[in-house]
């Protein structure tokens, strides 16, 4: 049974600067995996390499056994690789419902229809509402995204990604910038995600990481330092050394 | 063979003069676009103003040529400061459409004012005697004025490049073009920087318009007619860069002159097609920042 998402000897260099060094990484189906590391470790770069936003200098990216190294970002989305962004990239002047519906429509092919009014495609609207409901924000469906508190916006971000029915979901700092009171809601939302979905989160919030992940990879200066269960990582001396200077890490 | 060589020299000469004028006018647009991210389509208005000031001062007020040039620079730069503080600065964060509409409105107003004051005909340039005349090269006559134009422009361009490379102002401009937010956070007074740079760019445009008055005719529809060319210089050269537009302007000047000379039926066709081809190959321009 192949990994849901895998990289082999993945490298990225910008001239003399190596931002990703021979990364061997595997995400199993149904995984609850976290990627941690100090600032500047190259975590977001790694995610960009996974999603196709960045092309690697060498190495391979495999999705469910298929080599997608040469496949562009839209192609990877179509093959079931979803992601959220560290900074909200939402459609700010549209309603929450529309934000999610747009993605659902793209996936189902409804987005190409140009004759019947969008509002008549109730299957799209219903699916979008169901997604919002699963994240607990269905009552905000008609509000403009820009009017929502930041924490709820982060949830919309996740809802959009879910609308694409990904097999693999990459969450780039889902709780970043969210006040502690609201991050509980995000954790709840993450807990409700489908069991079969392979999920990788990148996070600085160690509380969230240790509560969510069953497997953790530590990235330092573009290379994998170590990986293992939360208990193993917590006990690892090298990890503590790396984080020694970052008490709020 | 001799004839072809002298034709080539002639095309190169006139093309270079044209290119220099285009650059001096357009460099301000490139820098302010890169610096402020503001789509200022009305840039040609400053060039036109410089041209009108020069020709009016020369013919109606009989001001000596060098003084008229200085006045063109200073007056237009001063007025541009007013424009920038009162009008442009309100729209710095605005969407591109708004900036485009706003500056088109400014063009409409300036064209109307120019027509009201100066009428619709082209303004003749009365050169001082010491700049008239011709000189011989390869069996052809070249106007001395164009030679002066090339030399003087080269001097101004050198001064500008020196200014941007070596002075504090230049360093701040380069920093802010590269990363505006960063520049602000290290204490650069971006408001003042914008105003000064805008003034310099507009003053240069005025000088370019004034000096180039006999290559690019001064008439009320000036900002409309030449807008495409200024924009081509900036896009092909690369926004925010200094060298890029220089190469682009020279290429355009020489190519346009060559086409008009050898293939008059084709006209400006080639320039537009070449622009499209270059931008297909390098969408950010030849020396653009973000590829």
């Amino acid at each position: 049974m192949s990994a849901a998402l895998e990289t082999r000897l993945l490298c990225k260099r910008f001239g003399a600067l190596t931002v990703a060094e021979n990364i061997n990484f595997a995400l199993e189906p149904g995984a609850r995996h976290a990627l941690i590391g100090p600032n500047g470790a190259g975590k977001t770069t790694f995610v960009n390499l996974l999603t196709g936003r960045l092309a690697p200098s060498s190495g391979q990216v495999m999705l469910a056994g298929e080599d997608i190294t040469k496949v562009g970002a839209p192609g990877r989305v179509k093959r079931g690789l979803g992601r959220t962004f560290q900074i909200n990239t939402l459609f700010r002047n549209m309603s929450v419902l529309d934000n999610v519906a747009l993605g659902v429509a793209e996936r189902t092919g409804v987005a190409m229809r140009f004759w019947r009014p969008a509002a008549k495609y109730s299957e799209v609207r219903d699916e979008a509402l169901a997604l919002l409901d699963s994240l607990g924000i269905a009552d905000e469906a008609r509000r403009n995204v820009a009017d929502l508190p930041y924490g709820k916006q982060r949830l919309v971000e996740i809802a959009i990604a879910l609308g694409l029915k990904p097999n693999v979901l990459l969450l780039d700092e889902p709780a970043a910038g969210v006040p502690t009171l609201e991050s509980e809601r995000i954790l709840e939302a993450l807990a409700k995600l489908p069991k079969e979905m392979a999920i990788l989160i990148i996070e600085h919030d160690m509380d969230l990481v240790f509560r969510f992940a069953s497997h953790i990879t530590v990235l330092v200066q573009g290379a994998v330092l170590c990986e293992g269960t939360p208990t193993e990582i917590r006990a690892d001396a090298r990890v503590r050394e790396v984080y020694l200077g970052e008490r709020h890490g | 063979m001799q004839a072809l060589l002298s034709q080539l020299v002639s095309v190169a000469f006139h093309g270079t003069a044209y290119g220099m004028v285009l650059y001096v006018i357009s460099v301000g647009l490139s820098v302010t676009m890169g610096l402020m991210g503001f789509t200022n389509l009305a840039h040609g208005v400053f060039a036109m103003a410089g041209g009108y000031i020069l020709t009016a001062f020369l013919s109606r007020l009989h001001v000596p040529f060098p003084l008229a040039l200085v006045l063109a620079f200073v007056l237009v730069a001063a007025v541009s400061v007013l424009f920038e503080r009162l009008l442009y600065s309100r729209l710095y964060g605005a969407a591109e459409l708004e900036q485009v509409l706003f500056t088109i409105g400014l063009i409409f107003m300036s064209v109307a004012v120019a027509r009201m004051i100066f009428g619709t005909l082209q303004m003749p340039v009365q050169l001082p005697d010491y700049l008239k005349g011709q000189f011989d090269l390869f069996g052809r006559n070249f106007p001395a004025y164009r030679m002066f134009l090339i030399v003087f422009s080269a001097g101004m361009i050198a001064a500008l490049w020196f200014g941007v490379e070596r002075t504090l102002w230049g360093a701040m401009v380069r920093a802010a073009v590269d990363n505006r937010a960063m520049a602000q956070s290290i204490g650069i007074n971006t408001k003042r920087l914008f105003t000064i740079t805008f003034a310099v760019g507009s003053g240069l445009a005025a000088l370019g318009g004034a000096l180039g008055a006999d290559i690019i005719a001064i008439q009320p529809t000036y900002p409309f007619e030449n807008l495409v060319y200024f924009l081509i210089v900036v896009s092909v050269g690369g926004l925010g860069s200094l060298r890029g537009p220089f190469i682009a302007a020279l290429l355009i000047g020489i190519a346009d002159t060559a086409c008009k000379y050898w293939f008059p039926d084709v006209g400006s066709f080639f320039i537009y097609l070449a622009t499209i081809a270059i931008l297909l190959w390098r969408p950010a321009g030849l020396f653009g920042k973000r590829a």
């Binding site: 549209m94 229809r113 140009f114 969008a118 | 485009v100 509409l101 088109i104 063009i107």
Partner: protein
């Protein structure tokens, strides 16, 4: 509030949407002397609709939309003069198709770029078309324009009469068809995706939308409509001049649309009505002041009334609703 589009939008015809058609028909019966101005207004409304589709909804800023308008006019005109194609319906189809082809070719290039470069390319395309029309004397009449255009009776029955009655109704009919299609498009899922592209094209790519292809489609479609409008102009004035090409008519159209209100569908109606009627009165009397006034109005609209006339009306209505 802009007409919200999308999956929650109320797409049913509002009462106010009947107003333009009522006014148009009333004009036909009660303002018989002004039908040629009326036909011109209707033509420009169709043209403005095509521009609103790409500027207001898809977010592509263009200063060269007249390239498609003029292409439609010239192709249909040249076919009429040189080949004897006089059937008005075929003329519209031919002109619109030609404009559409130009739209696909130029769009393929223009849409690969963004911001200033894109703007410049739209200008360059318009300038190119102008040059072609100018130099191809034998075909287009060059600077003198193309005269001797013939338009046969519509469906063999309705002749283009001196009073402009046929022309007016013909323009009204085509405008209705154009408006109907554009309105459907705007409210459709495709239209919703256009709005998404306008707001955040990067995000649209990450949800798997082929942004470039979508924009190319709407660009080409907009060109087709603009081309049809151009043919209408040719048919109602039986003449095509260079003034249908280049920056001036493109800029003028953008002004009309801005005055009416961009991205509101009906700004394309209000703008040309207000602009062309005012121009008919004022421009002839005081051409310079007219030009200055338009420029000033544009500056003021951008600074204080970004939504144009419809924006002002919306704001006023919103304030009235808050009172009780």
């Amino acid at each position: 509030m802009r007409h919200p589009v999308g999956y929650n939008a109320n797409h049913r015809l509002r009462l106010t949407e009947y107003l333009p058609w009522v006014l148009a028909i009333a004009t036909f019966f009660f303002l018989g002397d002004y039908l040629s101005l009326g036909a011109r207004v209707l033509t420009y409304i169709l043209f403005a609709l095509s521009l609103d589709l790409i500027v207001g909804y898809a977010g592509i800023v263009t200063l060269g939309h007249a390239a498609f308008f003029g292409t439609g006019a010239y192709v249909a005109g040249v076919l009429s003069v040189k080949v004897g194609l006089t059937d008005p319906i075929l003329q519209v189809l031919a002109g619109a198709a030609a404009a559409g082809v130009l739209g696909v070719i130029t769009g393929a290039v223009v849409l690969r770029t963004r911001a200033l470069t894109q703007l410049m390319l739209t200008l360059a395309v318009a300038a190119l078309c102008f040059e072609v029309a100018n130099k191809a004397n034998s075909l287009t009449g060059g600077a003198d324009g193309l005269s001797g255009v013939n338009v046969a009776p519509i469906l063999g029955v309705f002749k283009f009469d001196m009073f402009g009655k046929t022309a007016y109704l013909w323009c009204l009919g085509l405008l209705f068809i154009g408006w109907f299609i554009v309105r459907r498009l705007v409210y459709s899922p495709f239209g919703a995706s256009l709005t998404g592209i306008h707001q955040n094209s990067v995000r649209m790519q990450t949800i798997g939308a082929p942004v470039y292809t979508r924009l190319l489609m709407v660009y080409a479609f907009s060109a087709v409509i603009a081309g049809a409008a151009g043919v209408l102009l040719m048919q109602t004035s039986q003449f095509v001049g260079l003034n249908v090409l280049g920056f001036e008519p493109s800029g003028e159209l953008l002004v009309m649309l801005t005055l009416g209100g961009v991205g509101r569908l009906y700004g394309a109606f209000v703008g040309p009505i207000v602009y062309l009627i005012a121009q008919d009165y004022l421009a002839k009397q005081f051409p310079e002041y007219w030009y200055f006034g338009i420029g000033l109005l544009l500056v003021l609209v951008v600074m204080f009334a970004r939504g144009g006339v419809l924006g002002i009306i919306d704001a006023a209505l919103a304030r009235l609703r808050r009172k009780p």
